[in-house]
């Protein structure tokens, strides 16, 4: 069965959603992520939705579900990279993704997770800031 790849990056898991997800794929992702948080002891999950051209109530519910499940397993979930048109549409549709943390992009999402987990920021980021 088709699966969305999950990449391990230090204490975090990174998922980039690049395809039009059908329902079975969404369910599989939820299960795979939960399994990987448990087996790897990951403390943070980044879900990059920059390639998604819409978020309907089904996908919204899935993102909220992943955030709730991972929080029960002592991990944070951050959704990153939402396109402006998608954000505008979601608000009008009435989905607010309550309880889901968001960040503009992967880098900012990582920073958010690090600050939540009180981890030291990555070295090269530090250099960026001093410039």
């Amino acid at each position: 069965m088709e699966r969305i790849p999950i990449i391990k990056m230090g204490p975090f898991l990174l998922v980039t959603i690049q395809v039009d997800m059908h329902d079975r794929l969404v369910m599989a992702l939820q299960e795979d992520l939960t399994e990987m948080v448990s087996s790897n002891g990951a403390r943070g999950v980044l879900i990059n939705i920059s390639s998604l051209d819409m978020v309907d109530s089904y996908i919204g519910r899935m993102l909220g579900g992943i955030a709730s499940i991972t929080s029960l397993m002592d991990a944070y979930t951050v959704v990153v990279g939402m396109q402006p048109a998608v954000a505008i549409t979601m608000v009008e549709l009435g989905i607010s993704l309550q309880g889901v943390m968001t960040a503009l992009n992967v880098e900012k999402g990582m920073d958010l997770l690090r600050s939540k987990l009180k981890l030291a920021p990555e070295q090269d980021h530090e250099i960026d800031r001093e410039e």
């Binding site: 059908h22 309907d56 048109a85 998608v86 505008i88 549409t89 549709l93």
Partner: protein, 135 residues
């Protein structure tokens, strides 16, 4: 009077076919010159309504039309199923109301994303929802 310039119809019975309907609506919206936000609203409304149809109506037909009303171009999408019908339309149009496991944003949410919204449902016969967004 609204004239149909071009149309396509798709059978939508499975979640995979919801994606195909979305892609077809995107194709029409693009060719009609809708901007990105309007395209996004149209495909999101399509996704919600097609999902309702699959989840509660056992699937049905989606008709996508490029319409013209005295030079005004628009996109109409109609969702028709032969499912059990909606017992209380007024309730179904309320935000937060659901008989399934959704959040109940489907119908009222989709309505907010378009310019025109019509719904007709008969118990035991089916439901027909039609949306229009003008370009």
């Amino acid at each position: 009077m609204k004239l149909t310039v071009k149309s396509d119809s798709l059978v939508v019975k499975s979640p995979q076919e919801i994606i195909l309907a979305r892609q077809k609506v995107r194709e029409y919206a693009r060719s009609l010159g809708f901007n990105l936000v309007d395209q996004t609203k149209l495909i999101t409304a399509t996704s919600e309504l097609a999902r309702n149809m699959v989840e509660y109506g056992g699937g049905g037909i989606v008709v996508i039309e490029h319409i013209d009303d005295q030079g005004q171009k628009g996109l109409r999408v109609t969702f028709e199923d032969q499912g059990p019908g909606i017992a209380d339309l007024e309730m179904a149009m309320l935000d937060g109301f659901t008989t399934g496991n959704g959040l109940g944003h489907g119908l009222p949410g989709a309505k907010r994303l378009v310019n025109e919204f019509e719904i007709d449902s008969k118990i035991g016969l089916g439901t027909r929802v039609s949306i229009v967004r003008w370009a």
